[in-house]
């Protein structure tokens, strides 16, 4: 063994750093964070726009500023970060976990840890995943790759841009490329509502008169060496493209902002069971995965829309992981949490009777004047009226005082008391 620590954190984005800080605050001293890039901060470093930290710091920061606050805290606490290092594998090793790391500096390393916190983030869905028909020219890329190259390296992909998908990164890039002199001709969204936050629709599209085509999709990509045009068609009642109503837009770049996928290849190697809806690990209320001693937080667990919630969730995870190191497995009856009416998913999958938990969820579709309710049998554990709900906005709430004999907790939206 090259190194033995109490806690190993995989990833130094907002999730990994918040989790590591919480570990430290809760009495864990031997912590190692591994980061595959050259420096800590994660994807925040390429998000040079503002809007970060409104909840966490009560002020509006850019991505790098938000990251810097955490990087400084991690440095102050003297938590070790090993950059340029990939985690290749995690295996059981008695009471501990053994991680195989590949470090640019130090080569292959074996690190033993009592707990491992997965904080690897997510990746972007790409063209292949959505199988857009047409040719395969240059000029088609995910919005995040374009963001990295524009913001960190200073190169833009083209001048005439079409964006498929209205996820937040796509919207942010619509504004960013417009500011750099490119013309964003359309944002095309297959759903009847935007994929990103409303504030981004307003600030990134409406303010720049960029048209948003809802219930439309790209049915064909043309171009030999470089993309030359896309064919866009509205969707009919059956959600199939109506080719007779299609139109063509000339472009030299197509950005894809069609969803994020938690990056769990390492988790799978470690034997962690994944949830089919979130793409992240199935966790209990301590954010521990199906493998005891392995925890998960941030976008590797569920894709978040605000970094502030990533930090909050990860701090919670770090605290729980610290307790695991000190006290071992939390014993208690497990109560399953189930998504009900209008709820696409809930997380965690189960809570331990007698403890507190934070439940996150996303609605299936936009709606107005709904109450979000968490119920155990007849007992209402939580209830709050939401004026407007969107799939793009994750809801989070705490539940406590769970009845010891509860069979399950159901979380659902209800329009019952409209007055």
């Amino acid at each position: 063994m090259d190194k033995t620590v109490e806690a190993l954190v995989i990833g130094s984005g907002p999730a990994g750093m918040a989790a590591a800080l919480a570990l430290k605050e809760n009495g864990i001293n031997e912590i190692l964070i591994v980061e595959r890039e050259d420096a800590p901060g994660g994807i925040l470093l390429q998000c040079i726009h503002n809007g970060f930290g409104l909840h966490r710091f009560n002020e509006e920061l850019t991505g790098p500023e938000y990251a810097e606050r955490y990087i400084n805290l991690v440095k102050d606490k003297k938590i070790e970060i090993l950059s340029g290092t990939c985690a290749l594998d995690i295996v059981d090793d008695g009471d501990s976990k053994k991680a195989i790391l590949l470090s640019e500096e130090k080569g292959l390393l074996e690190v033993s840890a009592k707990v491992v916190i997965l904080a690897m983030g997510c990746r972007e869905r790409n063209r292949g995943n959505i199988a857009i028909p047409g040719t395969r020219p240059a000029g088609i890329m995910t919005a995040g790759l374009a963001q990295k190259m524009v913001n960190k390296s200073g190169y833009i992909p083209g001048r005439e841009i079409v964006i498929l998908g209205s996820g937040d990164i796509g919207l942010i890039m619509a504004r960013r490329l417009t500011l750099e002199g490119a013309r964003v001709k359309a944002v095309v969204e297959i759903q009847s509502y935007p994929g990103g936050l409303n504030r981004n629709i307003v600030q990134c599209l409406n303010d720049f008169h960029i048209p948003l085509y809802l219930s439309h999709t790209i049915t064909k990509i043309s171009g030999d060496r470089r993309i030359s045009s896309v064919e866009i068609a509205p969707l009919g009642e059956s959600r199939e493209p109506q080719n007779e109503k299609s139109f063509t837009l000339a472009c030299d770049t197509l950005l894809l902002s069609v969803g994020l996928i938690p990056e769990n290849e390492l988790s799978l190697k470690a034997g962690v069971i994944l949830d089919k809806v979130t793409g992240g690990p199935v966790v209990d209320s301590n954010l521990m995965t199906s493998v005891p001693g392995i925890f998960a937080c941030g976008n590797v667990l569920q894709v978040h829309d605000l970094v502030d919630w990533v930090s909050e969730e990860s701090a919670y995870c770090g605290k729980a992981a610290a307790s695991y190191v000190r006290n071992g497995l939390l014993k208690g009856r497990e109560i399953p949490v189930k998504p009900g009416n209008m709820v696409r998913y809930t997380l965690p999958a189960k809570v331990i009777a007698g403890t507190e938990a934070v439940i996150s969820l996303r609605p299936m579709a936009p709606a107005q004047n709904m109450s979000i309710i968490a119920k155990a049998g007849e007992k209402i554990l939580y209830k709050k009226k939401e004026k407007k709900i969107f799939p793009s906005i994750m809801l989070r709430f705490p539940v406590k005082d769970m009845p010891e004999d509860a069979g399950c907790i159901e979380v659902f939206f209800s329009a019952e008391d409209k007055k």
């Binding site: 020219p137 890329m141 190259m149």
Partner: protein, 489 residues
């Protein structure tokens, strides 16, 4: 530089590469001219990667003769050139009584073609061999000598070895004129103004072989493009099949297949559609539906939601449907045209046939004693070591070269040392590096590693970032620098 050669090969696809390597055995000046930015970038890179057993082709045809002869060569070639190749067998499935009769028909063809070890097997045995096949299957024609191969790595290996043995390769050089001078010498002009002369020309121009022949007034064949769409599935679906799974053939193709690849992921396709344009590389909604309908009939658990990428290959079908390999009415001009399926399989035999035609046409072919049939490896692939958790071996490799500890493509486990190796072997486009190393072929499709690979190309070759392309000029990835003096990284 004296651009005067004994033989010029037009086209650096699998046929051109195999011919070049064959000719590199002899004391000859040989050049290959290719219009694309890298070897195999035309039809070959989109090949299904199957070394066929040889029962699909009509007895007596050149296709049948060359494919069966060449199949046997692959063990030796693989040993010499170290490209990925595995004999996995082919299974042609029958789902109806009519299909069963068709199997018998192809079994008889295979016998006539001298395909060894073929068997007609029943339902039980078929399902035992391939448990994921539709249990409605009635039986199969089994040919164990069929194999799977990585088509572009095979082409790179052939050409790489040819170059090591003295062949010259001109990439990004599109032939726009081919003529014969009074002294009998051929002269070739390219779009960029390169002028080449030779005594012999081998026409391995794939889809454009008829255009090349046309410059010399040879108009006795046409190349008809036949499009095929293929879909590659995510690694996570696992080893759905071990052998290559065929339906009974259609009139125009071997049908839509379920293909295990040497790199792991399963591929489904190809469609077969005769098209007008030789550059119609667009996949279609119909093609996708068609491929998955046929594939799911054979292997029901295949899902289109597992697609990670798709592509089109265009088969060059010559008039008459058979390969055209041989001398022409123009002395010294040799055709290797109409090389559709089973062209990849037949390529070593096509190359030998071209060599013997050249000999007959009067080329002096003296064996070169210094010919080295073994390709020099420029890098080691670490992916398999990581998959097998062979960390001891991996440590040794890192000790020899620290760049192996820099993981660039994390989906396919490709390190910086491999990328640098590929660049130094002449691959300087993103597609070229992707095919040579697999960086960017995984589930994120280059979302993470593209910028890193670009930085490495820039560092190793000095090429400005804005000129780095996907597949040659006109396909630059980030063509516009925002302002001068901006730092990278």
């Amino acid at each position: 530089m004296n651009h005067k050669y004994d033989v010029i090969v037009i086209g650096a696809g699998v046929v051109g590469a195999a011919v070049a390597r064959s000719l590199s055995r002899y004391k000859l000046r040989v050049a290959v001219v290719e219009k694309e930015a890298d070897v195999s970038f035309g039809t070959s890179k989109a090949n299904s990667g199957i070394i066929h057993a040889g029962f699909h082709d009509e007895p007596g045809s050149l296709k049948a003769k060359l494919a069966v002869a060449a199949n046997r060569e692959f063990d030796r070639l693989c040993e010499e050139l170290e490209f990925p190749f595995e004999r996995r067998g082919e299974l042609m499935l029958a789902f109806t009584e009519e299909d069963v009769r068709i199997l018998q028909f192809y079994f008889a063809w295979g016998k006539k073609n001298n395909v060894p070890y073929m068997e007609l097997i029943g339902r039980e045995r078929t399902l035992e061999m391939e448990p994921n096949i539709n249990p409605d299957v009635m039986g199969a024609l089994y040919a164990p000598t069929a194999g799977i191969i990585c088509p572009y790595e095979y082409c790179f290996a052939l050409m790489g070895n040819a170059l090591e043995n003295g062949v010259e390769l001109f990439l990004n050089e599109k032939v726009i004129w081919l003529g014969k001078k009074e002294n009998g010498e051929f002269e070739i002009d390219t779009e960029n103004g390169l002028k080449l002369n030779s005594t012999y020309v081998v026409n391995a121009a794939g889809l454009y072989a008829d255009d090349i022949a046309g410059y010399l007034g040879i108009t006795d064949f046409k190349i008809l493009p036949r499009k095929g769409e293929e879909y590659l599935l995510d690694r996570r679906v696992g080893n759905l099949v071990r052998s290559v799974i065929f339906p009974v053939p259609t009139k125009t193709s071997k049908g839509m297949l379920v293909i295990p690849t040497v790199d792991g992921p399963v591929m489904v396709g190809p469609t077969a559609l005769d098209i007008e344009a030789k550059d119609d590389y667009a996949t279609t909604r119909d093609g996708l539906k068609n491929v998955f309908m046929h594939a799911q009939k054979m292997v029901p658990s295949i899902r289109s939601s597992d697609i990670i990428t798709s592509f089109v290959g265009i088969r060059p079908v010559a008039t008459g449907n058979d390969f055209i390999v041989g001398a022409t009415k123009v002395k010294g001009f040799i055709n290797a045209a109409g090389i559709q399926s089973p062209g990849l399989t037949a390529s070593p035999a096509i190359a030998e046939m071209v060599s013997s035609v050249l000999l007959k046409e009067g080329l002096r072919m003296e064996v070169k004693p210094e010919f080295n049939p073994h390709k020099r490896m420029s890098f080691t692939r670490v992916r398999h070591l990581l998959e097998e958790r062979n960390f001891g071996k991996f440590r040794e490799i890192i000790a020899g070269n620290k760049n192996y500890s820099k993981l660039v493509c994390r989906c396919e486990n490709v390190t910086e040392a491999e990328i640098i190796g590929a660049i130094h072997r002449g691959h300087t486009t993103l597609d070229g590096i992707k095919f040579a190393t697999r960086a960017g072929t995984g589930r994120c499709q280059g979302g993470f590693c593209t910028s890193r690979v670009m930085e490495i190309i820039h560092r190793e070759t000095g090429m400005p970032i804005e000129q780095i392309s996907k597949k040659g000029k006109g396909s630059e990835i980030f063509p516009i620098p925002l302002r001068k003096g901006v730092s990278r990284g």
